[in-house]
Assembly symmetry: C2
């Protein structure tokens, strides 16, 4: 090797052991903040609003309240808009394609964090409010929440998002999170100011007193952070617009940093059907999980364990499973050794069990998908497909696709793909997403569109895909892309194919109409000349000529229409 021989200071096992340490979850996510969606100031602003809106909508729906939300982005200190720093670029913008090396490096070295913009983010809802005792941990501790341990279609699931947004604010501005909440007209409102102790992952309560608040019930959260406000594809504006499309029951008021107010009124006053919580399906369970369930159960025997802890297992199915496994139904679940667990697992795989219930899912519905597209996209043709529910790893899910085509959409661009998971628009990491992949690997040429190898189809086309599930598997905690489970990709492709065929029919019809129009124009153009020529050759009268023209036109028109 050409490199100069390095000065080595080899370490032994003992000196290495001294460096071993526990890593707290908040330290972990501070260093890996891009996992949570805080890798650029523009994205941080969006992620914070997204997490707060997700929580508000989930809470309202769970409490049966038609949601009315206020979202406000308020500049928090003088903003230096003249200075364009590379660090403020949107992470997916492609960044400085043609800069030259040296300048690039110097720019980077010369930047600090001083000149970034600072905003106060406010999200307020009319939800059920939060019991005061829970507020500090919900907003000031990572991995704390109510949705993680249940199988139910909801926007939030991990118990990380909103506390991570607070942590990001604290990290970049040192300011605490402020929370107002009130659980009813007869209850007092509370106001908390919270920090997160990053070594212990515990909330630090700066203040937490009763206060006066005009709202009868609801929650308001204020986070001050370093961010960057932009327009365009990945913007808060776009996110809120898409959120309104996918949530027609939402009434949303949005105040942007320039002080302008946009109101998205609710299109319906009906809440979506309530998503039910379900128990896990036996086909999704694995060795380790099953062992833990057996150890934790309060059921006294195996038969009731199977019936109580899983969905779609009745007395008969339980009996079949236990017979196949060669295990006595009255056996205490806690007494199973590992071999028994394996037998039980094998028996489950060998037993025919009905698919999990799907009434736990709340899709948007074909009509509302189409209506949403019509509101947001000006086109000639719209179609939508809601697939029946399917299952991955024991989790029910359902795919919906909407397509808008033609009209004023740009004919030479690649198709625009709008992705949603449990009614939440996904704006970042498109290329990492199973939805994007499914669109990319579908054969759009067979539906009459152009598509280059390895690329999205091109044409005046918008494709909307929505996945509803009791547990959406995201590729990272920032919940921006759906993981590539084969079952999910398959369902998305089937939905795309169904919608694609409808699009194909439209495109063919349109082409036929075009052809027909062309033929008609030929007829109109040439027949008079033929008439004139005939008149000249045969020396017929004008009236006879006109008659000939009429007959010819008529015959050709009839043949054209066949």
């Amino acid at each position: 090797m050409a490199a100069p021989q390095p000065q080595r200071s080899p370490k032994d096992a003992q000196s290495m052991a001294e460096k071993q340490r526990e890593i707290s979850i908040s330290e972990f996510f501070t260093k890996n903040r891009h996992l949570l969606g805080f890798d650029s100031p523009a994205k941080a602003l969006l992620t914070t609003i997204k997490e707060a809106v997700d929580n508000s909508l989930d809470a309202c729906e769970e409490a049966g309240i038609a949601p009315r939300l206020l979202v406000e982005i308020r500049p928090d200190k003088p903003v230096n808009l003249g200075l364009e720093l590379s660090s403020q670029q949107d992470q997916e913008s492609g960044a400085n394609g043609n800069g030259n090396g040296k300048a690039g490096r110097n720019d980077t070295a010369a930047r600090g964090v001083k000149n970034e913009e600072r905003y106060k983010i406010i999200v307020e809802d009319n939800g059920p409010g939060i019991v005061a005792a829970q507020i500090p941990r919900i907003f000031g501790k990572l991995l704390y929440g109510s949705k993680f341990h249940s199988l139910k279609q909801s926007r939030g699931q991990q118990g990380i998002g909103i506390s991570a947004a607070g942590m990001y604010g604290q990290l970049t501005t040192g300011k605490p999170v402020t929370v107002y909440s009130r659980t009813g007209a007869k209850k007092p409102a509370h106001r908390f100011q919270l920090l997160l102790d990053m070594k212990k992952n515990e909330p630090v309560i700066l203040s937490g007193d009763e206060t006066v608040w005009e709202k009868e019930h609801g929650t308001r959260i204020e986070i001050v952070l370093t961010g960057s406000y932009k327009r365009g594809q990945h913007s808060v504006d776009n996110y809120l617009e898409q959120t309104a499309i996918a949530n027609p029951h939402l009434h949303l008021t949005y105040k942007d940093p320039k002080g302008e107010t946009i109101v998205y009124p609710n299109a319906t006053s009906d809440l979506p059907p309530e998503a039910a919580e379900i128990k896990p399906h036996p086909y999704g369970v694995e060795m380790g999980i099953l062992s833990r369930m057996l150890a934790d159960t309060s059921s006294r025997n195996l038969a009731s364990f199977l019936k109580d802890e899983f969905c779609k297992v009745g007395p008969k199915t339980a009996e079949t499973i236990l017979e196949t496994a060669g295990l006595p139904p009255r056996k205490n679940p806690k007494r199973l050794v590992q071999d028994d667990v394996q037998k039980l697992l094998d028996a489950i795989a060998d037993t025919k069990i009905a698919a999990p219930p799907t009434d736990c899912l709340s899709p948007i519905g074909e009509d509302l998908v189409m209506a949403g597209l019509k509101t947001g996209v000006e086109a000639d043709f719209y179609t939508s497909v809601t697939r029946p529910a399917a299952v991955y790893r024991g989790n029910p899910f359902q795919i919906e696709v909407g397509i808008a085509y033609g009209g004023k959409l740009p004919a030479d661009d690649l198709a625009k793909v709008m992705r949603f998971a449990n009614r939440v628009p996904l704006l970042y990491q498109a290329s990492a997403c199973a939805i994007h992949k499914s669109v990319l690997t579908s054969n759009w040429r067979s539906y009459g569109l152009q598509q280059s190898k390895g690329a999205l189809p091109s044409g005046p086309l918008v494709i909307l895909v929505h996945m509803a599930s009791v547990w959406v598997p995201f590729t990272s905690e920032s919940k921006e892309a759906v993981a590539h489970y084969p079952e999910i990709i398959k369902e998305i492709r089937l939905a795309l194919q169904e919608a694609g065929r409808q699009l194909q029919r439209h495109i063919r019809r349109r082409e036929r109409e075009k052809d027909a129009a062309k033929k008609q124009s030929y007829i109109q153009k040439y027949i008079p000349h033929i008439g004139d020529a005939l008149q000249e050759i045969l020396e017929i009268s004008d009236a006879e000529r006109n008659e000939v023209i009429e007959t010819l036109t008529d015959t050709l028109e009839r043949s054209r229409k066949l």
Copy 2:
């Protein structure tokens, strides 16, 4: 809305509060296992081997030992190879493109986990070994390790990987992880059998005794898991081959599940230059981190705090910063209020500070990148570029690019992109990666290649990209794709441009040669006929004719070469 009015059971704040719970990190990663790279049996097999090999290589290099590794995949129980289950499909394979809906859903419902394959994975190294007291936590606790808190180029960084692999094995087979380790010839060897308590995230030690082991020093880990062994792009075979390319100092013996042994001998006996640990650079620090550093420091005054805790801050720079901030150099760092911290941060941004040191990085080097490509890829033309080091968020990093072109590479396919981070091949989630994005958004047409809108370039082309850094920002814990930091994308694009221009010169030269050959063939083809024609018209002798031909050929050859 068309949906039937649901039966609602609205919840209030009190009933919601009762569902709030803490989520343990191991529960979190069990449910989100795709974050760690365990979303399909094929990927789980690869991830497990990758994590173990990463750790072995890091430990050997840190101890100054030339690594000799054994990797073995042993079928653990009768394998049912006849049955192809959809769950065993590689997650990036595109899955069942043209199946029809109903069959798809029934397949899914009818599958269990019984028939998946089971393997014992063995990875053994000749490294420094691990002190017995540390073994349980290193292999049986998530978020525990030595690399997280240091800024140093290494393969592992999070303290999650290997314990997650053990957890996955336990989850799918119920079997413990077995670890052998010995720290020296005069020390006893130890053998541990470990499980991970998933609620507490703590190791459960089934056994941990002294044992007899023939190795003088080293570590051996055995994990039994449900997996799927495949060949192809995302295979273990491919990963190990690429690992050998990027680590020419590694001697690797690989026994595949069929019992065949492949040896990759080391190409050099020199270890790569040792990567040094560095302190954080002031430009990368943020409000929250700075506050914590101030609180935690053992420095007694601000001036020494700045000098001791950061790189590239000497007495003069410290003085300038504190003067700009209006803070006394002798002030106790623990006495700073929030406004002072902001002032300090602003002053850092306003002060010119040298870029971080780059001797902490250990790139592969242009020669070895080229040599590696030549070993692995048969082509006409090779080139490589190692960029100078650059910085993102205060972290030094360095980009290397290699290109192979022509020869036996398929001319009509999209380019193949090989991605490496700190010498580790990245096989999954290509489209989520900053490397892929940079290749995609570079203009390859200007280098003489074909490229469709939104697609990779096509042609007989392999592109290798390596990122070396003290902290590689991955998009998820499974470390498969580099996050889209603008500074990183920019550097990759600059490296690609440099290599692309060299490729362009080669392609142009080749085209000129082709043109020249074509012209020459014209000369050879037509001049004799011209000679004959002249002979006929002018009635010259054969000798005169030959002379004319020779003169003409000579003149044209000369003009062609200009």
